[in-house]
Point group: C2
Chain length 188, copies 2
């Protein structure tokens, strides 16, 4: 039932490696299924580690979730470059999100969020600092926040739709449409 012990022996007792396996398993599972649905026993099983180690290394389930979120803080270089081409960069990124879930556990967590209040607070904070604020900084005008919020909504909606209706291969025309969408969102 375990695929790791096939190497004709037990795994070496490596605290850091075990911790990393747990973290990685949590990253995947939390991102795919959300906070509440995933149990620490699932994570431990996926990481081929003991349940108690989750508590030992991360304090609690929420602590583990937090550690996952800490893992990959930025959205990449999406916001580098000139503001002119920002809508198209956003559109290309969003098109990629239509096609498949993001690698980043943060974005997945943000897309899915969770009903647990504590986790919601964390996800909210991340959404603001990692998505909304970077967009705002590229905008002028008094209602920059509202416009950035609308663009953020499109991001969230793309993820929500993919999760509910399955992935969708975007065509070049879709990227054009999405570019127009983001331009409409961000237009002063």
């Amino acid at each position: 039932m375990d695929a790791q012990a096939t190497e004709a022996g037990a795994r070496p007792r490596d605290r850091e490696a075990t911790r990393e396996r747990i973290l990685q398993a949590a990253r995947t599972l939390f991102g795919e299924h959300g906070y509440e649905t995933v149990t620490v026993r699932m994570i431990a099983a996926a990481a081929e580690a003991n349940v108690a180690l989750v508590g030992r290394y991360f304090g609690s389930k929420a602590g583990l979730f937090d550690a996952v979120l800490q893992g990959e803080p930025t959205l990449g270089n999406l916001f580098e470059g000139d503001a002119e081409a920002l809508p198209r960069r956003l559109a290309e990124y969003a098109a990629e999100r239509m096609r498949r879930p993001p690698d980043s556990p943060i974005l997945r967590a943000l897309e899915r969020s969770a009903a647990h209040p504590e986790v919601r607070a964390v996800a909210r904070e991340r959404l603001i600092t990692a998505v909304l604020n970077p967009i705002v900084e590229h905008l002028d005008g008094p209602d920059a926040l509202v416009r950035a919020r609308m663009a953020t909504a499109v991001f969230l909606g793309i993820g929500a739709t993919r999760r509910r209706l399955g992935p969708q291969e975007p065509t070049p025309a879709d990227v054009d449409r999405l570019t127009a969408v983001f331009e409409a969102c961000l237009a002063g």
Copy 2:
């Protein structure tokens, strides 16, 4: 803590009324907090009814959720009228969704969805029949489904953003922007 028993006596034994109280409480709570977070004990308490009655009248928690979804099947007259003005009607509806949660528990459930697979299936079905398909029917062109899907994504995203960042009073300029967004989504 109860406002009904103040009338110096017990409530009359009215099966239909009790059933309706439970249904109404479930409507509110499911819509506000999602499927998993809400417990049948919460619902029973809100309905001032016994927990066992939930099981008796609706079979199970999932059955109750299903009954809630059955309650309000349509999205209203959003899709009536000429296709020309559809983007603006969608925009006005979406603007309303920025401002406050929908009255319809269905849309709230669709916005929030749930991690439980059975509920997800129901929500997915509803999203398709109540939102996606009506939009598709108003579109021409080979990739009508993709375009409708994008508009659906905007809807979901608006709700997700409001839930995470709080309500936002839309300005007339926002409605214009949203109209442009939906036009961009639906453009052939």
